[in-house]
């Protein structure tokens, strides 16, 4: 059996101190395989965003263990977490593009986070990925001159430009209408499959659940429901059988 992309064991997380302390994650145990597309759903306050930021190394693990491709995140130094983050692609709810950079420069910033890449390589790689998300003709546009869907597609390009093994997405369709939301998610699914990349997505959006291999539901900091029989998985299994 292949090593799982993510292995989470007895993960607990708390906010605040003393009497005001509030537990947001309770005993999370979860394994996510390489190349899997996982969607986490749940009410706001259910802890799903906390879980995502812990997986992404944006917050320090307090108790329990998270292993990303065999690397332990618990107790890792800031320096190690920063290095680890370079292997992960992030897509944020409000796209978080740098307003003073063009589409291509935004993607290039992510490509250049690894010091061992030349300017030319970073540039051509950024152009390629922007063409792949359908923005080949918008390379030199500033985010303020692009639509919400186009901005989110730049964010996807930025997340995928380094061909990460893991992409974390936080409500990427929240600010989009249903058509462009759908297009964005399908694009993610398509590109991730090409690159054999694991995707963990937090969403409220019921219209896109069908693209996932697995849907995890969270409630009050616990995993309450773990459905691996989604249409996408079925169809993929079907394809591999035939």
């Amino acid at each position: 059996m292949q090593q799982p992309a993510l292995k989470i064991q007895s993960l607990n997380h708390y906010y605040g101190k003393g009497v005001l302390q509030k537990q947001t994650l309770l005993d999370i145990n979860l394994e996510i395989g390489a190349g899997e597309f996982v969607i986490i759903t749940g009410q706001s306050g259910s802890g799903k965003t906390t879980l995502l930021s812990l997986i992404g190394g944006l917050r320090s693990v307090q108790s329990g263990s998270i292993q990303f491709l065999g690397q332990e995140l618990s107790g890792a130094s800031q320096q190690k977490l920063t290095k680890l983050r370079r292997q992960i692609g992030y897509i944020f709810q409000s796209h978080n593009l740098l307003g003073f950079l063009t589409a291509q420069q935004n993607v290039q910033m992510a490509a250049q986070v690894n010091n061992n890449i030349s300017m030319q390589a970073a540039r051509s790689r950024s152009q390629t990925i922007l063409q792949a998300v359908g923005l080949g003709d918008r390379l030199n546009y500033y985010p303020e001159n692009l639509s919400g869907g186009q901005k989110q597609r730049i964010a996807i390009a930025r997340a995928l430009v380094n061909q990460p093994k893991l992409v974390l997405a936080d409500e990427p369709t929240a600010s989009l209408d249903s058509t462009s939301g759908r297009a964005v998610v399908e694009l993610m699914q398509h590109l991730a499959q090409e690159q054999m990349c694991t995707i963990v997505m937090v969403t409220h959006d019921n219209r896109i659940l069908d693209v996932a291999d697995r849907i995890i539901h969270m409630e009050d900091g616990r995993l309450s429901y773990n459905n691996s029989l989604t249409p996408a998985r079925l169809s993929r299994q079907f394809e591999s059988n035939t």
């Binding site: 307003g99 950079l101 290039q108 910033m109 986070v113």
Partner: protein, 388 residues
Amino acid sequence: MIRKIPLAWLQLTREKTRLIVALAGIAFANILMFMQLGFREALFDGNVQFHQSLNGEIVVINPQSDALLSLKTFSQRRLYQVLALEEVESVHPIYIGFTSWRNPQTRKLRSIQVIGFDPDDSIVNLPGVQQNLDKIKQPDVFLFDQGSRQEFGTIAADFLQGKAIETEVGGRTIKIGGLFQLGTSFGADGNLITSDLNFFRLFNQDGRNLGLIDVGLVKLKPGANTKVVLEKLRSSITQKDIRLLSKQEFIDFEKSYWASSTAIGFIFTLGTIMAFVVGTVIVYQILYSEIADHLPEYATLKAIGYTQFYLLIVIFQQALILATLGYMPGFAFAIFQYNIVQKETLLPITMTISRALLVLLLTVLMCCISGAIAIRKLRAADPADIFS
């Protein structure tokens, strides 16, 4: 070397209006510093132009004298004591005093500095003096400083047109026999040069006589070492009623008077410090709002794997870019202002390389200090806040 996206530059130049306002602020601080430092140096240079023109190596003064403006006299016997040393070529008494000049056009009185010495000796290296020495041998004939302020009248222009100029100085009617060039200082708005005899005719009623001199100039024989001679003189003349200085010490003595003993030097130093503080606050405001406005973007950069250190560098790059870009208009405008001030006040205020470099250095320092304060805000860029 791998070229990267110049993040600092792109961030600063994206909003042109904001950048221009920022640069105007820095240029303003620059101009303030240039003006304060320029005035300060002009004050010092203006007051030592006479000192610098002295044609000798050693100067003798009364130890109670503290500036050219307020010299105390000493006995000329002390000056002739110096002659005893074999390295000394000659000694020359110089008489300096202030009296009133009546503007021949407006009839208004104004204080003017009069310098008197023996016209047979070549004592000062000022343009116009040497060729006119014969004229001041005549009674009540004076040389007029064409660098004097306008309030004394259009003397230089009239003289050059060949008009005979007669006016009242210190209650005596005198004639202008020629022009020379010295320039104003904070102590003197205008200058006259004349013979020692004419000087005493003028200052007769003040109880001045030939035996009491203001400045004694000592010329050494060729090849004599000023430092050695000065040492010898100091040990041989034990009387405490004179002070022996080299020419450079005499210049420094005058400068240090204005720099430390009067409020004037202090005011300009304080002015420079104020300009520096104002500049620091301006740059801090700019950098702080740059960081505050881009906090989510910086947090995003941290999230995708950029280090805090990288962002620190970006902020300091911005500080340096602002410093250099703001310096250029500041420098240009300062030169323009120096020209105006020089024309208006006749103070010798010009741009020097050392001052240009000093202000550049201060500007960079100013931007670095503001950068160092502003980056505290950068800690607020927490990548954990991005997923929300």
